[in-house]
């Protein structure tokens, strides 16, 4: 009997830290929705622990972080460490918001696989996600 397999990318969009500006995160969440993805949106003021717990329970294919506060240097390494501790380091993490050019290298060194500043197009971001998760079997990331 034929199995009607239906795979939808599941993407977590999270706002770590204390800044209260979630317009960017919502625009991305909406755009990914319109690209046919299932977007789990966490809302504002998430701790690194909350974000990683959500990524774990929701079994997401990618995690997008929106940070405008300048606290990325503290938040991102912590999130990446927790991802590793929970054996979620195979899940790509991408970053949006205000990341100064001089920090990009540092951020990449933490394991972040994509950084999208204010000029990035929606298409760039969706292409990045599709590129990252294509070719994987459902639930077969290891």
């Amino acid at each position: 009997m034929g199995d009607m397999e239906e795979r939808k990318p599941r993407i977590l969009i999270a706002k770590p830290g204390l800044d209260g500006h979630d317009r960017g995160a919502k625009v991305i969440a909406r755009a990914l929705r319109d690209a046919g993805m299932e977007v789990i949106y966490t809302g504002l003021r998430q701790t690194p622990e909350m974000i990683v717990e959500a990524a774990l329970q929701e079994d997401v294919d990618a995690v997008g972080l929106s940070i405008l506060s300048g606290a990325h240097k503290a938040l991102v390494p912590r999130i990446m460490t927790l991802m590793r501790e929970n054996e979620l380091d195979d899940i790509p993490v991408f970053l949006g918001g205000i990341i100064p050019p001089e920090d990009v290298e540092n951020m990449q060194a933490t394991g972040v696989s994509g950084i999208f500043g204010p000029g990035a197009s929606i298409e760039e971001i969706t292409n990045f996600i599709w590129g990252r998760i294509r070719g994987q079997e459902p639930g077969e990331r290891h």
């Binding site: 009997m1 034929g2 199995d3 009607m4 397999e5 239906e6 795979r7 939808k8 599941r10 969440a29 909406r30 990914l32 929705r33 319109d34 690209a35 046919g36 993805m37 299932e38 977007v39 789990i40 949106y41 966490t42 809302g43 003021r45 998430q46 701790t47 622990e49 909350m50 717990e53 959500a54 774990l56 329970q57 929701e58 079994d59 929970n86 054996e87 979620l88 459902p138 639930g139 077969e140 290891h142």
Partner: protein, 333 residues
């Protein structure tokens, strides 16, 4: 990872394995079938509570408060929160976690967001299989939050032991409350946002609606027709649907709501209705799977070309839709 390994690890308490198993079950009916087959004998322990109501009535906030209260009582809790998929792109924005931040960091709570993926009854097709998996994984209580429901999304009643219908003040006049549909499936009616103006009126009109009908309200007609013994046993069997007021934002009325839920469970168990509901659920599930099997066989036998030709004939008014369906059915027979 192999499905069987995921099942084993999920039962041993691995959250990662549980989460991945759920994804597999959502994506593939073969996986759902295999997982349910393996786990079914380990299910039937959890109290499954459905929470439904219109968008914005406060379902997610109330689910959060309920989960907190259940945790205080020492129970483990799993939450399945369903949001709608876009009928155009198939995408979905699952935002129920936004209201559930208070539950973060508690290993006794598992939250899973789920897209409806085209199902129209307020749940997703895979919801029942996912609930069985959570049951087998050992969660004491499973809270299912439906898609924001209007009037007719009543699938939850068959999926849950106890159904809460949440209303908020100001959602309509008295006639709304005697329409058929969602209000009929409530085991407990909750007027949330009870600190808002109009809450009293909403509660009163719901109460009045209950008293108009034979279920849960007074039953004068039955009283006149039945012998005292029948009457007494019916009195025991009857569950009087309570109308309960809460303010989910500050937790007002939530402990009492948990008490009502416990009382409903006790009622189901004492009257044998627990098993009745299980039978109802089982029947529905078996029939759904039967339908799936039939559709799969249909797809195997009838080519999409053949089907399109008949559908076209219907569109051209050369064939009526009943006859078309009969012709297609006979091909499979």
């Amino acid at each position: 990872m192999e499905l069987n390994d995921l099942i084993d690890e999920a039962r041993r308490g691995s959250v990662r394995a549980l989460a991945r198993l759920i994804t597999r079950v959502e994506n593939s009916q073969d996986a759902a079938r295999a997982a349910v087959r393996t786990l079914y004998t380990a299910t039937g322990r959890a109290h499954v509570i459905g929470i439904t109501g219109p968008p914005g009535s406060g379902k997610s906030s109330l689910v959060t408060e309920l989960a907190k209260a259940l945790r205080r009582a020492g129970q483990t809790v799993a939450i399945v929160a369903v949001d709608p998929s876009s009928p155009f792109t198939g995408g979905a924005l699952l935002g129920d976690r936004v209201r559930m931040r208070d539950l973060a960091g508690d290993r006794g709570v598992f939250i899973r967001s789920m897209a409806s993926r085209g199902s129209l009854g307020g749940l997703a097709r895979a919801t029942s299989a996912v609930v069985l998996i959570l049951d087998a994984a050992g969660y004491d209580t499973i809270l299912i939050e439906t898609v924001g429901a209007g009037q007719a999304e009543v699938d939850i009643a068959a999926a849950a032991h106890t159904t809460l219908v949440i209303e908020a003040p100001g959602m309509g006049d008295d006639v709304q409350s005697i329409k058929a549909g969602i209000l009929e499936i409530a085991d407990i009616l909750v007027v949330n946002k009870a600190d808002r103006p109009g809450a009293e009126r909403t509660a009163n009109s719901l109460q009045a609606m209950l008293q108009l009908g034979p279920t849960g309200g007074t039953r004068h007609h039955g009283r006149m027709m039945k012998t005292p013994e029948v009457l007494a046993s019916q009195e025991d069997q009857a569950w009087r649907i309570p109308v309960h007021r809460t303010v989910a934002l500050d937790g007002t009325g939530v402990p009492e709501l948990v008490e009502l839920i416990d009382r409903h469970r006790a009622h189901l168990e004492q009257t044998g209705q627990w098993f009745e509901r299980e039978k109802q659920r089982s029947r529905r599930e078996v029939e759904n799977f039967l339908l799936d099997q039939f559709m799969a066989r249909f797809r195997a036998v009838v080519s999409s070309h053949q089907e399109s030709k008949i559908v076209e004939a219907v569109a051209l008014r050369e064939l009526d839709p009943y006859t078309a369906a009969e012709q297609l059915f006979q091909t499979v027979d």
